[in-house]
């Protein structure tokens, strides 16, 4: 043949000639081919039932791995979160919103690399399986589906009601804290669990009462201008509260490890003012926090506003006695956790007094309450 004929022949060469046993039956329509089936690669040709079954098995495995990778990423993320909350464990109070919030974005490069690897493999696998699906071969398509089903059944795990996206960040004295997406935001989910040491009747009653009290007081304070986590959702049946995730630092950590606050009197004074004002607003609406400690006060990262959290023991009362005891609890918490903080606490009370008109009676009650310390000499 001449040169032109050669070219034409070459162009016509691999166009599915059925007399060529090495050719692929490239279909763009659904089929049940068991022969001349080419799967993605030129060397992956199925020409016998046995090899077809083997190929299906491999596809099933690949689809299962896809689900496994999703599971692995989730597990790895949880591991990172838990290891951070364990680091904070020693420096932590019975409060629920924990320093992991401030560390939520800070993972190491290695950890991010690992996560990227897992994610990329997942992406690769997903497109690969798509290409397999595009062979339009019924057997292969079924294999993909079976693999996905097995994978999901085995690996989509023992996770709570909030879906696979809830990550446990802390187990406090009272409840488990998770982060989870809520509509478009990140939220904290506080799930109170039952205490086995308590009598069941007592336990149920106590838990239900605490959930409602917490929700009500959170809302009441927020309405009156105190910066508290915003209440999103309350479920009394499983004792959960869903609220805003505060990005920021816990005051306890600031006063212990942040040198700026330990040494700088001005910073301390600034902080004392914020605390005093916040407390004044809370008491002004007759809410008793019930568990004021430096672990339940946070500084919001975005605007440095003081946030009061963990209203788990709060209730409503107008009695000066109760408000004085509330302040006394904070005073004791300050002095036992942060030695030499007497001056700062006195500043807090000063700002509290300046911002709360009815505070005189409360502060004189506080003086009384202090003397009530047991076995304490009542002289002077």
């Amino acid at each position: 043949m001449n040169y032109q004929q050669f070219i034409i022949k070459a162009m016509n060469y691999d166009h599915g000639g059925s007399h060529d046993s090495d050719a692929c039956n490239m279909q763009m329509l659904f089929n049940w081919d068991t022969e001349k089936l080419c799967i993605i690669f030129t060397w992956w040709r199925v020409n016998s039932i046995g090899f077809l079954i083997l190929s299906c098995f491999i596809i099933i495995l690949l689809a299962t791995s896809f689900e496994f990778l999703r599971f692995a990423l989730r597990k790895y993320d949880t591991k990172i979160q838990v290891s951070y909350s364990q680091l904070q464990e020693g420096r932590d109070a019975n409060s629920e919103e924990v320093a992991t919030q401030s560390n939520a974005n800070r993972i190491t490069y290695v950890q991010q690399l690992v996560r990227t690897l897992i994610h990329t493999s997942q992406v690769f696998l997903s497109f690969f399986l798509m290409l397999v699906f595009m062979t339009y071969n019924g057997f292969l398509m079924i294999s993909v589906i079976i693999g996905a089903a097995i994978g999901y059944f085995v690996f989509s795990s023992s996770v709570i009601d909030f879906g696979e996206s809830a990550i446990l960040i802390k187990q406090g004295a009272e409840a488990r804290i998770y982060t989870a997406p809520f509509l478009t935001r990140t939220a904290i989910i506080k799930e109170r669990f039952s205490k086995t040491y308590r009598h069941p009747t007592l336990d149920k009653k106590l838990t239900a009462r605490r959930v409602t009290q917490e929700a009500r007081c959170l809302f009441k304070c927020r309405k009156s201008g105190v910066d508290t986590p915003v209440l999103y959702f309350v479920n009394t049946e499983n004792s959960t509260i869903c609220m805003e995730f505060i990005q920021g630092m816990i005051i306890k950590d600031l006063l212990i490890s942040d040198n700026e606050y330990i040494q700088n009197k001005e910073k301390q004074d600034e902080l004392a003012e914020k605390i005093g004002i916040a407390l004044a607003k809370v008491h002004a609406v007759d809410v008793i926090h019930g568990d004021l400690t430096t672990s339940n006060l946070m500084l919001r990262e975005s605007n440095q506003s003081l946030v009061i959290i963990d209203f788990g023991l709060s209730y409503v009362s107008s009695l000066p006695e109760d408000k004085a005891v509330d302040l006394y609890v904070l005073e004791k918490a300050f002095l036992s956790t942060h030695p030499n903080s007497e001056e700062m606490f006195a500043n807090i009370l000063e700002y509290y007094q300046k911002n709360y008109k009815a505070s005189q009676g409360i502060l004189s009650k506080l003086a009384e309450v202090r003397l009530r310390g047991r076995k304490r000499s009542m002289v002077g």
Binding site: D92, G172, Y197, H199, L202, V329, P339, R374
Partner: protein, 340 residues
């Protein structure tokens, strides 16, 4: 080194003799004798009668302790006594004997804080290293943790002690005070079935018992006569509620400090139900509970001897003029020189 400890802050008179081997650090209990002033059912013990009881029995008990320990007076290094807190007259009655013996035998004196005695004995017997301590007795209810040379009080009762609450309830039910009202409440509680709701008062890390006491008194008067419940049910409900409160504040302290160990000391610490509930709580947190038996839970002289000797070994001595007693002596007032 050998120390004698004299304890009499409440109705239990205890004399203990302890030996510390300063080289090996081994602690040996040579004698631990106790005699309790028990009052008829329906009554509590009064300071004056308790002091009379102590004065009557202290010499025989000391003699018995010396005999049991088989030591000579010249072997004794220091005499320790309870400086406080506690009831005035009984404390002073015991202090006088301590001073007299010190002058008679020419030995130094160490005044010991009763609460510290409980804590140090508990640590020694159980081997707990740095636990959160729940000190619960008829006179005290405190949650304590060690920090920088002091036993700091993290939470306590705002009014009466839990043991006091239980004892007073036992009086209402006319339970016998022998061996102790709390023990009898525990036995009754084991047979209780119906759970009666009582006020549950936890305020942050503190607890309050006077409310629950007056409430259960009212319930007892109403319901017992109508046979709506049995005394066993009341004991059961009272224990479940107050112990749940105690376990809760202990758990809060544990979470606050980040500790995994709990040590229960004090008379109420003998209660097995409290120990059981605490164990359940710490299990959920992967921790451990340490508790002692009645020889060391209940007020005794050996804990005074032990704590006193620990202080004495750091160079602490109480001069005669200062060997007084005080009814109000906070746990955190003592400088703990023997720990770092």
């Amino acid at each position: 080194m050998i120390a004698i400890g004299l304890e009499g802050s409440a109705n239990k008179l205890g004399i203990g003799i302890i030996e510390h081997n300063t080289e090996t650090g081994v602690v040996k209990i040579l004698a631990n004798i106790r005699h309790t002033h028990v009052t008829p059912p329906g009554t509590g013990f009064l300071p004056r009668d308790t002091a009379v009881h102590h004065r009557e029995y202290i010499i025989p008990v000391i003699k018995e302790a010396l005999k049991t320990s088989n030591i000579k007076i010249k072997d004794v290094d220091v005499i320790c006594y309870t400086k406080g807190p506690g009831m005035g007259a009984p404390l002073v009655s015991v202090a006088i004997v301590a001073r007299t013996l010190a002058l008679l035998w020419n030995k130094p004196i160490v005044g010991v804080n009763h609460c510290i005695g409980h804590i140090e004995m508990g640590r020694e017997i159980t081997g707990a290293d740095n636990p959160v301590v729940l000190y619960v007795s008829g006179g005290n209810t405190q949650v304590i943790a060690y920090s920088e040379h002091r036993y700091r009080i993290f939470g306590e009762t705002l009014d009466i002690a839990v043991g006091n609450c239980l004892d007073r309830f036992a009086r209402i039910l006319n339970l016998p005070n022998d061996p102790s009202p709390g023990y009898n409440i525990e036995q009754y509680a084991k047979k209780g079935k119906k759970f009666i709701e009582l006020p549950y008062t936890v305020k942050g890390m503190d607890v309050s018992f006077s409310g629950i006491l007056s409430n259960i008194e009212t319930i007892a008067n109403d319901q017992l006569s109508n046979n709506q419940c049995t005394p066993e049910d009341l004991c059961f409900s009272l224990q479940e509620t107050v112990f749940a409160m105690l376990v809760e504040i202990t758990e809060r302290a544990m979470a606050h400090i980040g500790s995994k160990e709990v040590l229960i000391v004090g008379g109420v610490g003998c209660n097995l139900r409290l120990q059981e509930m605490m164990a359940q709580m710490v299990e959920q947190r992967d921790g451990k509970v340490f508790a002692t038996d009645e020889r060391f839970c209940i007020d005794n002289g050996i804990m005074i001897a032990h704590a006193g000797l620990l202080a004495y070994r750091t160079g602490f001595v109480t001069p005669l003029e200062k060997s007084t007693c005080t009814q109000r002596f906070r746990t955190d007032e003592v400088y703990v020189a023997w720990r770092d």
